[in-house]
């Protein structure tokens, strides 16, 4: 006797209602993580609450938030920006320089960093959004590259060139300095993540968010409705960049300094890989992708240096010892085999199961009619 559609729907809504609380549960687990000495072998080197593990998790959370912010452009508004690293690096460098050169206290410097990112985004976004489609991607890339070059050239000794500049310990609140305060930094990273996710979800559900979705689906139709997409796109660009700037501030605290790698196009490409890996445009996909990518790129570095890899024949050893090769190949595989990313995986599996089930019932019905 097959289950009626009604009872099936009822039990599934009940489960869905229970599942709605999982982010809260996960957040509570993440909040208490520093108090735990739980070892997670294979995933983390030390116990959960050790400074090393907390540092890695905090980095994963920051990149998860950055990827979610980047997806505000890519997945929700349909803007493929190749220059997001610029705004992340602006938050990072402006905050650091405001403390070092202007001798501002940390809070004021952090405000400068976020405001600087948003202002730069307003300026450059208003120029790059004059071209649409792939032209926009290339122009953002060009601006970001200019920023990256500027940082590396070390103008007036400000950015420190290749070396970057360390954050001044005397300007930071004492609760944020030193290895014993890693839990505080971890909580800041978590707070940044919660802030980003909240802002994004709130913005995406607002009327403006609906226009963003409209622009993503069909920009021409939005124009026909009498709205100018330009302003909405610029708003998304500035908001995402401001969030990236805030990420730069948290990153500065976590790593204790600003280095030019943050401004490089590799950073933007990594964000892109994270978003696509997790599932662009989905609610939790970019976060998941950011966390997994960051964790994987750290663990892949360990793998590359491990003796197991060193003993392999050269044909296998050379590709395996290059984390970027592995990540690049993984990315191609995800694009090719898993459109929709990891977040789309459950739906795909469900669809496949349903198809198989349907063909089975069809076959059974077929057999019945024949007998």
């Amino acid at each position: 006797m097959p289950r009626t559609g009604e009872s099936f729907a009822e039990s599934s809504t009940g489960r869905r209602r229970a599942l709605r609380w999982w982010p809260i549960a996960l957040l509570i687990l993440l909040l208490v993580a520093p108090y735990s000495a739980l070892p997670i072998p294979g995933v983390l080197d030390g116990p959960l609450g050790s400074p090393g593990s907390l540092q890695l998790i905090a980095l994963c959370l920051v990149y998860g938030a950055l990827a979610s912010g980047y997806d505000l452009l890519l997945g929700r508004t349909g803007l493929l920006s190749f220059g997001h690293a610029l705004y992340f690096a602006t938050g990072l460098y402006v905050t650091d320089l405001a403390m070092l050169e202007l001798r501002l206290p940390f809070a004021a410097a952090a405000l400068c960093g976020v405001a600087g990112s948003a202002l730069l985004a307003l300026l450059l976004g208003s120029v790059s959004l004059r071209v649409t489609g792939i032209g926009f991607s290339m122009v953002t890339l060009a601006f970001a590259q200019a920023g990256s070059i500027l940082v590396q050239r070390n103008p007036a000794g400000l950015t420190g060139g290749e070396e970057g500049r360390a954050a001044p310990a005397d300007r930071l609140p004492s609760a944020l300095v030193g290895i014993e305060n890693t839990p505080n930094l971890y909580w800041i990273a978590l707070a940044y993540l919660v802030l980003t996710i909240t802002v994004i979800h709130w913005a995406a559900r607002s009327p403006v968010g609906r226009v963003w979705t409209g622009i993503r689906e069909n920009e021409r139709r939005v124009e026909v409705l009498g709205l100018r997409p330009y302003g909405f796109k610029l708003l998304a660009f500035v908001l995402a960049s401001g969030l990236a700037g805030a990420g730069g501030v948290v990153y500065l605290l976590l790593t204790g300094g600003a280095t030019p790698q943050a401004a490089s196009s590799d950073t933007t490409l990594s964000l892109l890989v994270m978003v696509v890996l997790g599932g662009s445009g989905s609610r939790w996909g970019p976060l998941l992708g950011g966390v997994l990518y960051t964790w994987a790129s750290h663990r892949l570095g360990d793998l590359a240096n491990s003796t197991a890899v060193a003993d392999l024949p050269a044909v296998l050893r050379v590709p395996l010892s290059q984390p970027l090769f592995l990540l690049g190949s993984l990315f191609v595989a995800v694009v090719y085999l898993l459109p929709g990313g990891l977040a789309g995986l459950p739906a795909r599996l469900r669809g496949r199961v349903r198809r198989v089930a349907r063909s089975l019932t069809d076959a059974a019905a077929d057999a019945r009619t024949r007998t």
């Binding site: 493929l80 060009a142 070059i149 196009s265 696509v276 090769f325």
Partner: protein, 289 residues
């Protein structure tokens, strides 16, 4: 005056390099709507192919350049057949796949030959300098300019005089219409990818000549200026790419010399921004070839 002549020659040489990267990029983009992020990787493949044939195998320089170009062409065809073609219905995923390849190939090159720059074989005939109107100019600048000129001429003849060129030009204008007429645009895609790969690989071989060395990230850093050139030239236009390459190369050299080093790279981006503000939708030419 001597300095100006030297700067012009060097700027034109650099512009020639940009053109070699950008022309293929522009054609691929114009025809397929694919922004090929692996184009820089193809350039690196060509550069390393030439370096390997020239120093490890011991081929003569021109044979080595031919070898490097061939390797780049094969790599481009494989890329198109294996990765781009299966994603035919998903243009954005095509771009993303090339991003992955663009990350993986330089990493692989780095794994095999190390991250350090490798000195590039310079044949004696090209290593010297010539006096021109009082300025002492390295010969390899003229080799680059000559090669870019030949490529421009060849591409224009191909696009303007051959049947395939006609298909490609028509495809750039309106892909749907060409398909509706029963012409297999996909064969033109592979052809354009092969051509783009060949020219990029040649650019890679000659970039080794220009910089005197090759390193894994060379292609990627040139690619970004090639993007600027493609946008400025009007996407899909080979002639536009040529004009923009010359402009970018000259501006960069002059600004680098007369202001602080590094400002040349920035001034290129400023040039791009100004162009976008003045002519947002058309680039320099806004026309094909």
């Amino acid at each position: 005056m001597n300095t100006v002549i030297l700067l012009v020659c060097t700027g034109l040489g650099l512009g020639a390099l940009y053109f070699l990267v950008a022309s293929g990029l522009s054609l691929i983009f114009g025809l397929m709507d694919v922004l090929n992020f692996a184009h820089g990787a193809l350039l690196s493949v060509g550069a390393y192919g030439t370096w390997w044939a020239g120093t490890q195998v011991g081929m003569g320089f021109w044979w080595a350049v031919g070898f490097g170009t061939a390797v780049g062409t094969v790599a481009a065809v494989l890329l198109e057949l294996l990765l781009i073609r299966p994603l035919y219905q998903r243009p954005r995923d095509q771009i993303l796949a090339t991003v992955g390849v663009g990350l993986a190939i330089p990493a692989l090159l780095m794994g095999v030959w190390g991250a350090d720059a490798r000195p590039f074989p310079q044949p004696a005939a090209l290593a010297g300098t010539v006096r021109m109107l009082g300025a002492i100019v390295p010969v390899n600048r003229f080799v680059l300019i000559g090669a870019a000129g030949l490529v421009l001429l060849g591409l224009r003849l191909f696009l303007g005089r051959t049947r395939y060129g006609l298909v490609v030009r028509a495809g750039v204008e309106d892909r749907a219409m060409v398909t509706a007429l029963g012409i297999d645009v996909r064969r033109a895609f592979t052809l354009v990818f092969a051509l783009g790969g060949a020219v990029a690989a040649l650019g890679g071989a000659l970039s080794g000549l220009y910089f005197g060395s090759v390193h894994p990230g060379q292609g990627t850093s040139l690619l970004i200026f090639a993007f600027v050139v493609v946008v400025m030239g009007g996407m899909g236009s080979v002639t536009g790419a040529a004009v923009a390459s010359v402009a970018v190369g000259l501006v960069q050299q002059f600004a680098n010399y007369y202001t602080a080093a590094g400002l040349g790279d920035l001034s290129v981006v400023v040039l791009l921004a100004v162009l976008l503000l003045v002519r947002p939708h058309r680039g320099l030419t806004g026309r094909l070839a």
